[in-house]
């Protein structure tokens, strides 16, 4: 019986040879992608993971006050009594070491997030514990500051002893953990972040809606005009798209401010009185206008690319079957553009909720976004990297959910720019 297996010229069965070739192709593709993959992994993914870690990291207390943390393990924080003399001794030694290495201020700042006053307590004690050399440590510490004689101080230290904490995340969601371990809402005066997240989402929604309203007619015009004219008009869309964000935000300041061009124009036309010029910037209005302008191209471009693929004969067919122009547009044309509207909206919404620069410059007090708070906690006066990281991670989670949605609806491969 003759061998029916097909072979290549070398005598290798064809199937094996094909599989080998396919494997080689796969490897080559992976090999091409690998450099960028590793580059991005190190320069981009690791930093984000690092931030994730930072949002739960709490090793600072157990690193700088190791002896105290160990002794406090035995102490029951629910008791009204102070911890034993050993804890005071450990604390004095820890503070002395920390003062020498100049790390004591950091632990004070960390404890201060939970209990205001701790920072100054540690600063003060850092200087004065130098002279304490022998027992009784308890009396010596209390002599420096009465706060050492309050069980509350020790409870805070014990509460922050574990190296992993959820407190930043709780704080970012306006929650707090009481000493008993219950999770409750923050007092009303301290609740800011949920409102801020809500405001960021609402304003991004408004901006997305405005870009749909403004972008749809323009995209339709561009898609239906002859190519030569539409290419010319396309420049009007692409020019803002290519211009720096900062320049565009600045021009909006020039246009909208109280002594700005629009107000000048209104006064000149007699629409408003010179004495009560409109306040159009450093509030939500300014942020929404400027961001709508900046994000509009991100709506027009995907809409345009979808509308370009709809044959004009559809509309003609609808008309010839008796639909009036409006009905033909609503019943035939618009359903065909839904995917474009979806793509544009998600893209604009994703970009909007993470916006930083424009709200920072024109947002004033009422138009700031969650990103601006994150920035304040990184470099501003109220440094709190853990909280900044926790807020960032929550924002990131929101964005990633939308990103997945975008992938489901449009497909990431189909993303186009201009």
């Amino acid at each position: 019986m003759a061998d029916t297996t097909m072979t290549t010229a070398d005598g290798i069965p064809l199937k094996v040879s094909l599989r080998k070739a396919l494997m080689r192709q796969k490897l080559r593709a992976l090999f091409l992608v690998a450099p960028l993959f590793f580059f991005l992994f190190i320069t981009f993914v690791l930093p984000i993971l690092d931030m994730l870690f930072r949002s739960v990291d709490n090793s600072i207390v157990s690193d700088i006050l190791p002896r105290t943390v160990m002794v406090l393990e035995e102490w029951d924080p629910d008791s009204a009594a102070l911890p034993p003399e050993a804890a005071f001794e450990a604390m004095v030694k820890d503070i002395q070491d920390g003062y020498e290495e100049k790390t004591i201020g950091r632990v004070g700042r960390r404890l201060n997030f939970e209990n205001p006053g701790m920072s100054s307590l540690f600063r003060k004690s850092g200087r004065r514990t130098k002279s304490i050399e022998e027992a009784p440590y308890k009396d010596a510490l209390i002599a420096i500051d009465d706060k050492w004689g309050e069980p509350e101080t020790w409870r805070v230290i014990k509460k922050l002893s574990p190296t992993i904490t959820a407190s930043y995340f709780l704080q970012a969601m306006d929650l707090q953990e009481t000493v008993d371990g219950d999770i409750t809402w923050q007092p009303d005066d301290y609740r800011v972040y949920l409102n801020l997240f809500w405001r960021t989402l609402v304003m991004s929604g408004i901006i997305t809606g405005l870009t749909i309203i403004l972008g749809y007619p323009v995209a339709y015009l561009l898609a239906t005009l002859p190519l030569r004219t539409s290419n010319l008009l396309m420049i009007l869309v692409l020019l803002p798209f290519w211009t720096s964000l900062l320049v565009r935000t600045t021009s909006w300041i020039a246009l909208l401010q109280t002594q700005g061009i629009l107000n000048d124009l209104f006064v000149f036309l007699g629409l408003v009185d010179d004495d009560n010029r409109l306040q159009m910037i450093h509030n939500q209005f300014g942020t929404i206008v400027a961001m709508t302008h900046i994000l509009l191209p991100f709506m027009i471009l995907p809409l345009y690319s979808v509308m370009k693929t709809i044959p004009p004969s559809y509309m003609r067919a609808a008309r010839s079957m008796g639909a009036n122009p409006a009905l033909a547009f609503v019943r035939v044309y618009m359903p065909n553009t839904v995917s474009g509207v979806g793509a544009g909206s998600i893209l604009v919404f994703i970009l909007a909720i993470g916006y930083y620069i424009t709200p920072a410059l024109v947002g004033g007090r009422t138009g700031t976004f969650i990103s601006n708070y994150i920035a304040t906690y990184i470099s501003g006066a109220a440094q709190n990297w853990g909280l900044a990281a926790a807020l960032g991670i929550i924002l990131l989670a929101l964005v990633l959910v939308l990103y997945l949605l975008y992938d489901k609806i449009v497909g990431i491969d189909n993303m186009k720019l201009g």
Binding site: F44, P47, P217, T224, S244, D407, K416, L417
Partner: protein, 263 residues
């Protein structure tokens, strides 16, 4: 889309109204770009049109901000920094991005969607989050406050633009050209430089230029995360001045806008 011959009066009115609406939206898009240019010739250190400017009085106009820009060393430093960082970051992101896009556009590429998602994520992740993460991490590994750190960060943030445009270009690429080239005896490297690169060059260039023209935007994160850049950046410098509004040289933003539109 021209008005069809069978259009009724209602349709004709709507046709012109619609054109009018579109004209208004285009005005909204383009006016802020141009309004800033004449302001760079303002003689006063304010960001408004003075009465002299409106009456076209020569006294209201001046080139002094340009003079300051070209003579002040801090501006010069900022421009040099911007330029060096933009060129280096663009080179890195364009090279790596183009090679990766070649791999991504092959039909045999495994896990394409997942890898693509990861490579586009720098564009999707909010700037402030990338900035914060990079600031923490680069400080930890000793890259904080160095040019190298800023370059790497910009390169990472620029790659999605390259990957997207080059992958889009590769969709229309005729793969039989590669086979033809191989058939004629060229090896992989020769094929790449003699056949593939000349054909995809437009996509590569536009992908590489897009992020670098937006350098100013992204240099912002250095500002947001504080002390990362070792010298004042153009973007950083100007943002700070806009914030403080006490240094009149931020009026130079218009100049820079003009230079960008000219490019």
């Amino acid at each position: 889309m021209s008005l069809p011959a069978y259009a009724g009066p209602g349709e004709t009115i709507w046709y012109y109204t619609y054109r009018g609406i579109c004209a208004l939206i285009f005005t909204f898009l383009i006016v802020p770009i141009f309004v800033i240019i004449p302001l760079s010739f303002n003689a006063e250190p304010y960001f408004t049109f003075t009465p002299e400017m409106l009456s076209f009085d020569p006294a209201g106009y001046s080139l002094k901000w340009y003079e300051e820009f070209f003579t002040d060393s801090s501006w010069r430093n900022a421009v040099i920094n911007s330029f060096v960082i933009a060129v280096c970051a663009t080179l890195i992101s364009t090279t790596l991005g183009t090679i990766a896009a070649l791999g991504l556009s092959q039909s045999a590429m495994p896990f394409r969607t997942a890898v693509m998602a990861m490579m586009i994520s720098p564009m999707i992740v909010p700037l402030i989050i990338s900035a914060a993460g990079m600031y923490f991490f680069y400080t930890r590994i000793g890259l904080g406050s160095t040019h190298l750190g800023v370059i790497l960060a910009h390169a990472a943030l620029g790659t999605p633009f390259v990957v997207i445009t080059v992958t889009a270009t590769m969709v229309g690429f005729d793969r039989s050209l590669i086979r033809a080239s191989n058939n004629l005896g060229a090896d992989g490297v020769t094929t790449f430089f003699k056949v593939i690169v000349p054909l995809i060059l437009p996509g590569v260039i536009s992908g590489g230029l897009l992020p670098s023209s937006r350098l100013s935007m992204r240099s912002l994160w250095c500002c947001s995360s504080g002390r990362l850049s070792s010298g004042p950046f153009r973007g950083r410098c100007s943002l700070e001045s806009v914030r403080k509004s006490d240094r009149p040289s931020w009026l130079l933003l218009p100049f820079w806008s003009a230079s960008q539109s000219a490019c």
